[in-house]
Amino acid sequence: MNEASLYQFRLYVVGDTPSGRKARDNFKKIREYLRPDEVQLEVVDILQAPERAEMDRIIAVPTLVRISPPPNFRIIGDLSDSAHLRTFFAIPEDGNNKLEVRP
């Protein structure tokens, strides 16, 4: 990973919760489709850094924010709805290339 990563994401969670863990696991799977070495993920625990949530105006958790490339995009939830994710990350749907997230 380097400064010039193509994709930069920030995942907001509150402490260690099932939905937070699920979101991380599911994000790993998505990463496979996005040239893994170019994807940077920062996990922010709001209990540790509430002022960061304030800055990004986060209300719900988990929230995944795409920092780059612009525009700023947000996904709320544990990333378990694959149909939505395919659209969001522009992952083509075909037989060999199946995105399987934890429901």
Binding site: Y12, V14, T17, S19, K22, A23, N26, I46, L47, P50, E51, A53, E54, R57, I58, I59, A60, V61, P62, T63, P71, N72, F73, R74, I75, I76, G77, D78, L79, S80, D81, H84, L85, F88
Partner: protein, 528 residues
């Protein structure tokens, strides 16, 4: 789970919003959540912000404002018109925003399960970091528009409400309603967030907007019932007019003050009482304004400060008329003995007029006050609004323990009932009638003291004339007077709108229902 001790009754936190602590009998229940609902434009956001602003201004209590609708920068800007310098408060850690307003240009999609734990954590952080005692959340309806899943939002708001109790803050949440009368709030939020519900209304009534506030419920504690009018003023915010909550504790004194006319003093048995309300009723051109001018002149001669509200004439007209009666208002004003406030009744709503009057009285601190005429205000509001205006005005002046003279214009030239009289006569201490009377084939002016609470007074009708030296009240005319039709109708006028306010002895007949006049002969018999 709450931290409340069940043995201690619900305590209240004084909000500092003018009038609210009176109608709520102390403020909002401490450590609980109160829901404020209202239609669009019913001043919910102002109420929510003022709850925090007054906490800061009056008791230095920090507050957190959670906004789901407007961006903090908008709120800062809008509320600057109330002279609330939020930015300054933020710098001093007295005010903190939790910004949950929608961000334009940020696309959000939902994928799978989530909760509002982030919001909760942020609110808790904000409350802790400044030691907030008060929190306002504006508005719950907007939270529902942020997410697709209403059931989830409902559950999360319930969690928020419970969490707020744990934080020991007194919370105020706003919610929208779609109509003035009907369901309490959209999305049924009142069912799960609030022990306490307040409704703000903004109703169109006889072509006038009328704002009212009603405390619908306070669980486990008391409050005044019913709607109370309020207004929103620049620099001050919400001001509630607590009509029936007004305490009747004015003292009654036997001190007399001159009416301005020695003859009138004699008719009243030695002048007006210092803490009395005097109603002067008469047709247009009958001499009511003259009577107020004499009243003020009489006060000024004694070195008193006088305040005159004129709603029928312009300032120039009034000064000219007064100088025509030999009374120099201008020099009195220069000596700071008089302040004349002229306004068109239509220039503002009744509530605003009332507050303007109160503020003038509070700042000028007059020894006597006159309003010419109160009946001009009939045009401004609905019948009910006018009645509330009169009662509130009367009790305010009484509390100051200064004499107040109010004039009322009768609807017809020959006298007869007016709305003002029917609303006002039972709470005034003294009633003076000015009438055109027919005498020996001529129309002349007559004056009589109809009621003088707590004192003997003359019952005669006296003729009076007006010249460049003012009012001249003649001797009692006795049988020279002809038919005075309006006087026989007065028993109908005196419809009591309230029970006798002060409980004072009624000078006329000892009943609490104002006054009654049967016939001329009966009147003579009772004469002192």
């Amino acid at each position: 789970m709450t931290k409340e001790n069940s043995k201690i009754p619900v305590e209240k936190l004084g909000t500092g919003i003018e009038g609210f602590d009176l109608i709520s009998q102390g403020g909002l229940p401490i450590g609980r959540t109160t829901l404020v609902t209202g239609t669009a434009g019913s001043a919910k956001t102002v109420f929510a912000a003022q709850f925090l602003a007054e906490g800061i201004r009056k008791s230095n209590e920090p507050g957190v404002f959670v906004t789901f609708e407007e961006h903090p920068s908008e709120i800062r800007k809008n509320l600057l018109s109330m002279s609330w310098h939020i930015q300054e408060w933020e710098e001093r850690d007295l005010w903190r925003f939790v910004d949950a307003s929608p961000q334009p240009g940020h696309e959000t999609i939902e994928s799978g399960e989530f909760d509002l734990g982030a919001l909760l954590a942020r609110i808790e952080y904000a409350v802790r970091s400044i030691g907030a005692k008060r929190i306002s959340i504006d508005s719950l309806g907007a939270v529902f528009t942020l997410f697709n899943n209403a059931t989830l939002v409902r559950a999360e708001l319930r969690r928020l409400s419970a969490a707020l109790k744990g934080m020991g803050v007194t919370a105020l949440m706003t919610a929208e309603r779609t109509q003035e009368f009907g369901e309490i709030a959209r999305f049924g939020v009142e069912e799960f967030v609030a022990d306490n519900v307040i409704i703000l209304r903004n109703v169109l009534e006889a072509e006038k907007r009328r704002r009212t506030i009603e405390i619908l419920k306070f669980r486990g504690t008391t409050h005044q019932k019913g709607e109370y009018p309020f207004t929103v003023l620049p620099d001050q915010g919400i001001i509630i007019i607590p009509l029936s909550a007004i305490e009747l504790k004015q003292r009654s004194s036997g001190l007399r003050v001159p009416s301005g006319s020695p003859e009138m003093d004699r008719m009243c048995g030695g002048g007006f009482f210092r803490d009395s309300l005097i109603l002067v009723s008469g047709a247009t051109g009958c001499g009511k304004t003259l009577m107020t001018a004499e009243f003020i002149h009489g006060g000024a001669k004694k070195g008193e400060k006088c305040l005159l509200f004129a709603y029928e004439e312009s300032r120039e007209q009034l000064l000219r008329n007064a100088s025509g009666w030999g009374i120099d208002f201008e020099s009195l004003e220069r000596n700071n003995q008089l302040r004349v406030v002229c306004a068109y009744p239509e220039s503002a709503g009744l509530e605003d007029h009332l507050i303007a009057i109160k503020q003038e009285i509070d700042s000028f601190k007059p020894d006597r006050v006159a309003v010419d005429s109160v009946s001009a205000m009939e045009r401004v509001g609905s019948n009910r609004g006018f009645r509330e205006f009169m009662i509130s005005l009367a009790s305010f002046v009484k509390h100051r323990e200064i004499p107040g003279m109010f004039t009322a214009t009768t609807a017809t030239l020959m006298g007869g009932p007016s709305v003002t009289e029917s609303h006002f006569s039972s709470i005034t201490d003294t009633i003076i009638l000015l009438r055109y009377v027919e005498m020996l084939g001529e129309m002349r002016r007559g004056v009589t003291v109809l009621k003088m609470r707590g004192s003997m007074h003359e019952k005669d009708i006296r003729e009076f004339t007006i010249d460049h030296q003012g009012m001249h009240i003649g001797k009692a005319s006795g049988s020279h007077f002809g038919h005075v039709p309006e006087l026989t109708r007065l028993s109908v006028d005196a419809v009591c709108v309230r029970e006798d306010l002060s409980g004072d002895l009624d000078g006329m007949d000892g009943t609490s229902h104002g006054f009654r006049i049967g016939s001329a002969s009966k009147r003579r018999n009772r004469s002192a």
